[in-house]
Symmetry: C2
Subunit: 521 residues, 2 copies
């Protein structure tokens, strides 16, 4: 184990005067609180040197100026709940973590235009609570776990399930601290006294908003969040498939319903072992490898089937009722496939929802999924993008499952229809976080998946910090033209190369030679 990285006293002094001593964390155990709990026991590859907790944009700017002066790499995060992808841990060992948890104000809620404006420490829980406390009949598209940062999740291209969850529609209009500590506003935000910053997606000239997701070009300190009015009718749906072999025809049916506008958002097709605890609270998963027969038995006994789709309908009551009819017509044409649904809820009914599937798709944040998971059960993610076609999804699922099972681990996860044409096969590889040998196997198989499934033409939508270079290498067409273009921009906007070096495989020039060697080795 290498010596623990630290900041020198001058830097600590400077940070403490710019912020305050209690918001500059250097004590090792306290620093290690800011780490993905799903790690190989004892691994300290991605240990940070310290953590700062700014509370204002000006403090973030001050931290960036100090980091430039002393050439210290920094790694920002919102809530740091990037579990399974490395959490808030920095790609470069010894980086200064910038936790934005304490920038947690909901700056605006606009009822008429149905949007909110938040800082990066605002969690799904916080924004939901602010909407309810203000008596707004507005609904937020949320992910499975409500504890993360709205901005942080979106800046990792994280998905949510309502209509704005598809195709990155949730955020509109950013304020960003650039690497040199200066501020920029995207879109109409660049017009003084404008009113369209959080309404219109572009401005005049190149659209820079999407540059800041998954990148190391800036730190988002403010964002508009699009909301929906709570619809007249809301209904959660479960679409099950009896046999593993039905996946292909099920995926094609989801695509057609999605293209037809009957289904919206991000319908998600889960494996039995993922769906069973999530949908019915049966404790069925775990690290021991299950046989095909055992899985089929659970599928039949619990009624979730071999593949179970979670989706919902939102809108005018009559439209929801007709859509349900149409979903049944298409889905029940598949032998053994079943449609289950919740009651048709009105906006005043949301308080009574307790089932996490119904809550999440109604925009009510929960932690049920993680509360149902044994504390020693971690996971690591591998999530390639695949065309929303049965034969394609089948092929990639099989390629992934075979390798995971060869490592003696269960294949968990599912197929999330990110839009009407593509899906992400989200593979959560489970392991016992107290068992180094099993964790090693899990991390090993993900390394293998990134490379081998990548060579088949399927790249990740989001990479674990352990594999960012390997995942970026998959996007290597024309001798890495994309990476080189992104790195040309990186060098221009962060000449000292201090902001999140190596994030998703994009490095500043000062790191590039040795990183290329590392990637080759």
């Amino acid at each position: 184990m290498a010596e623990r990285p630290t900041l020198n006293d001058t830097v600590i002094d400077r940070l403490e005067s710019a912020l305050s001593p209690d918001r500059v964390i250097t004590e090792p155990a306290a620093v290690d609180e800011f780490k993905d709990p799903y790690y190989i026991p004892g691994d300290d590859t991605f240990t940070a040197s310290a953590v700062v907790e700014p509370t204002t944009t000006e403090e973030v700017q001050a931290v960036m100026r100090i980091a430039n002066e002393f050439r210290i790499p920094v790694w920002p995060h919102g809530q740091g709940r990037n579990y399974g992808y490395g959490g808030p841990s920095p790609r470069v060992r010894g980086s200064l973590q910038i936790s934005l948890k304490k920038m947690n104000r909901v700056l605006e809620i606009n009822e008429e235009l149905a949007y909110a404006v938040v800082e990066p420490g605002v969690r799904w829980f916080d924004l939901h609570e602010a909407l309810e406390a203000g008596g707004h009949s507005l609904m937020l598209s949320v992910p499975d776990l409500g504890w993360g940062s709205v901005i942080g999740n979106s800046m990792d291209n994280g998905m949510t399930y309502q209509p704005y969850g598809a195709d990155f529609q949730l955020l509109c209009g950013l304020e960003v601290v650039l690497a040199d500590g200066s501020l920029v506003r995207t879109g109409a935000g660049a017009i003084p006294d404008n009113k369209a910053w959080h309404l219109y997606r572009r401005g005049l000239g190149p659209d820079i908003q999407p540059l800041f997701a998954q990148s190391n070009y800036g730190i988002v300190v403010r964002a508009g969040v699009w909301l929906k009015r709570k619809p007249e009718g809301y209904m959660a749906l479960g679409l099950s498939l009896a046999r593993d072999a039905d996946l292909e025809v099920g995926v094609d049916a989801i695509r057609e319903l999605r293209l037809e506008g009957i289904l919206e958002g991000v319908p998600s097709i889960y494996t039995t072992l993922t769906a069973a605890p999530q949908l019915i609270d049966a404790d069925v998963d775990g690290p021991a490898l299950m046989t095909e027969e055992q899985i089929q038995e659970i599928a039949d006994r619990t009624g979730v089937g071999r593949w179970s789709t979670r989706t919902a309908l939102w809108g005018r009551k009559k439209i929801v009722e007709y859509k349900l009819e149409r979903v049944k017509e298409v889905w029940e044409a598949i032998p053994g496939a079943k449609v289950t649904h919740s009651p048709l809820y009105a906006p005043e009914d949301y308080g009574a929802l307790t089932n996490s599937s119904e809550q999440i798709q109604a925009g009510i944040p929960t932690l049920q999924l993680i509360e149902a998971t044994p504390p020693n059960m971690g996971h690591i993610g591998f999530s390639p993008i695949v065309p929303l076609q049965g034969k394609e999804v089948r092929f990639v699922v099989d390629e992934m499952r075979r390798r995971v099972e060869e490592a003696g681990l269960n294949f968990l996860g599912g197929v999330m229809a990110f839009n009407e044409r593509s899906a992400c096969v989200v593979g959560g590889i489970p392991f016992d976080v107290t068992d180094k040998e099993q964790a090693d196997r899990a991390f090993g198989v993900v390394r293998r998946l990134v490379k081998e499934v990548g060579e088949l033409g399927y790249g990740e939508y989001r990479a674990h910090i352990d594999y960012m270079d390997e995942a970026q290498a998959v996007y290597g067409w024309n001798d890495g033209a994309y990476r080189r273009f992104a790195e040309t921009i990186k060098d221009a906007v962060d000449p000292n190369g201090i902001l999140s070096p190596g994030r998703h495989g994009i490095w500043p020039s000062s790191y590039r030679p040795q990183q290329s060697d590392a990637a080759a080795g």
Copy 2:
């Protein structure tokens, strides 16, 4: 009038060997064919030196290498139909125009996943024809005029009217020739042998696709275009308002129907003088200033009202029928407001459509709008973005109309709901292209609008080449932080500053000092 700009013989020789002599146009009259016809008579401010017509990506790359070698500014266009915003004319006098008209192949049509892949010379007409010729039941979102380039229009943030017309959803996945002549692919296109390039909107790392619209960072030579399956039911709607004062309540109703998901795409509310010829072929507009009474008389006589919304419904028949009911319920609550609609069309009916409003919203390209315009009637555009709120739209329309009428010109145009929260007030200032005095007045009032409406906080979504610097200056928050960030990228990705210098006010460093002076002066 300044001396006509030319290229030197060495450069012409080099271009002729890289392409072929017939595709290097230097004869002045032939070069002037590549110009917006709506210009002040005799104005040669934006005259090009020559035009090249590459037919392949390799030829575009070769042109860029020659342009770098000789430091020649270039200005690409698809079909050059950017009428009212400067057409294909270059911002910098003497630029070499790159016409991509002859790169006109439809490279792929994917029926199952509902997309096509096109080169930049492919017009709306061409892609529509290819879809029909191939017997596909797929529908393309088109703009008012079908003669433009699909890619070119999109790269100016141009709008179309079906659901993918809102929020820039039409294109997915680009191949781009960079300023140095190298090639980059966006999103999953960077994965060799991938199948998700035109399906998923992002990749791994920063999303660079939106950087290439309205920018001078690259030349798009290939793009995926999302299509819809022709729906079971399609119906065009007209929503009229009897009095000018109804605009406010009408805009709010459109917003609520849009947020509710009843209306989709880009509903457009036209003034009487725009709607009348467009909807009923009455020849009512023209340069002579009309009185309030004359306009009201036309509104009443033609039945289009003072404001007339063109929109449509697409989907399963039962949903279209219910949506019509809901639209009537909301709209007819406005006194004097009327809902008219086409029959409910099935996919096999599209061949029989002749009304341009019905055709355009069914994805059938037409030229009826321009064919109905007298050949001497030009226009120049001023198009600020405004919140989709009645009081805001009212305010901006009045501010624009007053200034246009003070110049003795009619206010044409309308309010296009670009998405569910924002609209563009599209002002087309009409003038007689053979009348220099009238043209001067039209250009003068647009200069005034850019500045004065900009100072009120409303910026343009797209600027005429005459006013790009002034329009960009409106986006000047924090001492032009957005422009400086965009120019930092510009200098990094085009160090010689040859690609479209000055487009939408973004200049390479070599031009910046004098341009700043010009903008200040």
